[in-house]
């Protein structure tokens, strides 16, 4: 027992070193811009960079659009599959897991061949079209996470009874969808939304190959050209990821406090 406890602490120590040293290293490096003293110059340089603001804003907007489009696609589908097509559940679940199997770079390669300017659906022919394609690519990437969080939330409510009750009261389907189902799976929608935010903000491959000015390609560009700014950006990116995950925890704790009434 004694030996195993020492071993356990040893494992924790190794893990802690592995996790914290790179984070401390990054933070320390980001403060080194001014010679001899620690300063926040690198952060100042990042925040005053127009490119930073433009790409950060672009990716934020993309993340929001991705969340809205993704949820409008996934919540009704998950609802419908539970209510009317339970036999299709394995198929839908399998499809939602595919983006974890097929590497992102392969998916975007397919887009570039299928939707280029000389094809019959020339998404990449215009800026607007490329933005739409990028949104759809992000929805695809987020599909496994969004679907799973929504489906988990839907498991805790009785979809059938809710629907029947609403129908008896004379509700039409938009009312059922947006005033019954969505509010009841809000915890799932929100955790799916926050993980999507974290994914989209850091995503590199899709945006780089579709040539859109997103945050990921900007990070790569700064990394190739500057010394201290990349570390400052890594700290900012880590903070975004941390914030997203923290919000997910908060949401799931919140939803436990208000138990759904079956």
């Amino acid at each position: 027992m004694k030996a195993s406890k020492i071993l356990a602490w040893l494992a924790i120590a190794i893990g802690a070193i592995y996790f914290f040293v790179p984070l401390i290293g990054t933070f320390e490096f980001s403060l080194r811009m001014r010679r001899g003293v620690y300063s926040f110059d690198a952060y100042q340089s990042v925040f005053t960079d127009d490119q930073f603001r433009a790409t950060f804003g672009f990716s934020m907007l993309m993340a929001l659009v991705t969340i809205v489009v993704g949820m409008l696609l996934i919540v009704p589908t998950a609802y419908w599959v539970r209510l009317r097509l339970p036999q299709m559940r394995p198929v839908v679940e399998f499809i939602t897991l595919l983006p974890l199997v097929i590497p992102a770079i392969v998916i975007v390669f397919g887009y570039l061949r299928l939707y280029n300017s000389s094809s019959w659906i020339p998404f990449t022919g215009s800026t607007q079209g490329t933005n739409i394609l990028l949104t759809f690519s992000y929805v695809t990437l987020a599909l496994p996470y969004m679907y799973r969080s929504v489906d988990t939330a839907m498991r805790t409510i009785d979809v059938r009874t809710l629907t029947e009750a609403a129908e008896i009261l004379g509700a039409k389907w938009p009312t059922i969808m947006f005033r019954c189902i969505f509010p009841n799976v809000m915890s799932g929608v929100l955790s799916g939304a926050f993980i999507t935010l974290a994914i989209v903000m850091g995503e590199f491959t899709m945006a780089a190959l579709l040539n859109r000015p997103a945050f990921g390609p900007y990070l790569q560009l700064v990394g190739a050209n500057k010394a201290y700014e990349p570390s400052a950006l890594a700290v900012i990116a880590f903070a975004i990821t941390w914030l997203s995950m923290g919000l997910i925890q908060l949401v799931s704790r919140f939803s436990k406090l208000t138990p759904s009434r079956p």
């Binding site: 190794i14 893990g15 490096f29 595919l98 199997v101 590497p103 390669f109 397919g110 695809t140």
Partner: protein, 291 residues
């Protein structure tokens, strides 16, 4: 009466199926058809004739070399991350450490497993790069020059330890529930029957846990195999792993044969596909014991 009821059933069935049309159309247009397009394209030459030549060409030394280094990085980071991740999960579930460590580790793992891509490369450059914190610290305090030992962050080894930063937490997240599933009664039963701790682990825990362990390691492997952003930001195009080769191919047809590019993508799908299928199969085996 009969006809009316059948047509009613039919109409209802049609509406039922219409409900998942948007999802299916989306999945076909943005996931399945683009992938199939590449898979089919791998079996044709630029003139549009059916051929296996692209698949044969994958076995040329340069492409085979790219696959080989990708597989080595993925295997090494999966095994390394898997091992450390397993010990961490074991420590918080069975090692008797305070429970706040468990919850902090799980929260942190959720964050760190999603902290990949370009920023992760920056973090390791700032830590183990030529002027990184650890490199400078070891040089100034111990007179030890890391880079004189032949260590280079922009290499196979460097990429492996960088990938492990997201591999370890992923392993922790997958294995913690599996270790939670080990029932106390099993250990007690083994002890009553006179088993040593070693025998308990070898004859009870491992046979139950191996599908989870193997499955999780396979998932880690596939996870590393498809990753590109970290490697790209860390090494530029200098480390010739498959995703970077494919990236260069998409950008500028470096292989001078678009269909060979499709075959390259097909090879990636086959490798990640096989490891995921095995993972799912192993997970269903593992779940038998978690009921």
């Amino acid at each position: 009466m009969t006809t009316a009821s059948t047509s009613f059933v039919d109409r209802r069935t049609v509406i039922d199926w219409l409900g998942i049309v948007p999802f299916m159309v989306f999945a076909l247009a943005f996931l399945i058809i683009p992938t199939l397009y590449l898979i089919v394209g791998a079996f044709f030459n630029p003139a549009g004739e059916f051929t296996f030549q692209n698949i044969v060409d994958l076995f040329s030394p340069s492409i085979l070399g790219a696959y080989w280094i990708s597989i080595r990085v993925s295997v090494a980071s999966a095994l390394g991350g898997g091992l450390i991740g397993f010990f961490l999960a074991w420590a918080v579930v069975l090692g008797g450490v305070p429970s706040w460590i468990r919850s902090s580790l799980l929260t942190f793992s959720g964050v760190a497993s999603n902290f990949a891509g370009v920023p992760l490369a920056f973090a390791f450059l700032a830590t183990l790069g030529r002027t990184g914190l650890v490199t400078v610290f070891m040089r100034d305090w111990f007179g030890f020059n890391l880079y004189s030992t032949g260590f280079n962050l922009l290499s196979f080894f460097g990429l492996t330890i960088t990938y492990m930063f997201f591999q370890i937490p992923l392993m922790v997240l997958i294995l913690t529930p599996a270790l939670d599933g080990l029932k106390k009664e099993w250990r007690e039963a083994a002890e009553i029957l006179g088993a040593s701790s070693w025998q308990y682990w070898r004859m009870v825990v491992l046979p139950i846990l191996w599908p989870s362990l193997m499955g999780a390691t396979l998932l880690l492997f596939a996870n590393a195999f498809g990753a590109i952003a970290t490697a790209f930001a860390l090494t530029g195009a200098s480390l010739n792993i498959v995703p970077i080769l494919l990236y260069a191919q998409i950008r500028g047809d470096v292989l001078h044969n678009p269909n060979l590019g499709y075959a390259l993508a097909l090879g990636m799908i086959v490798i990640t596909g096989i490891s995921n299928v095995l993972y799912i199969w192993l997970r269903t085996r593992a779940e038998r014991w978690q009921k």
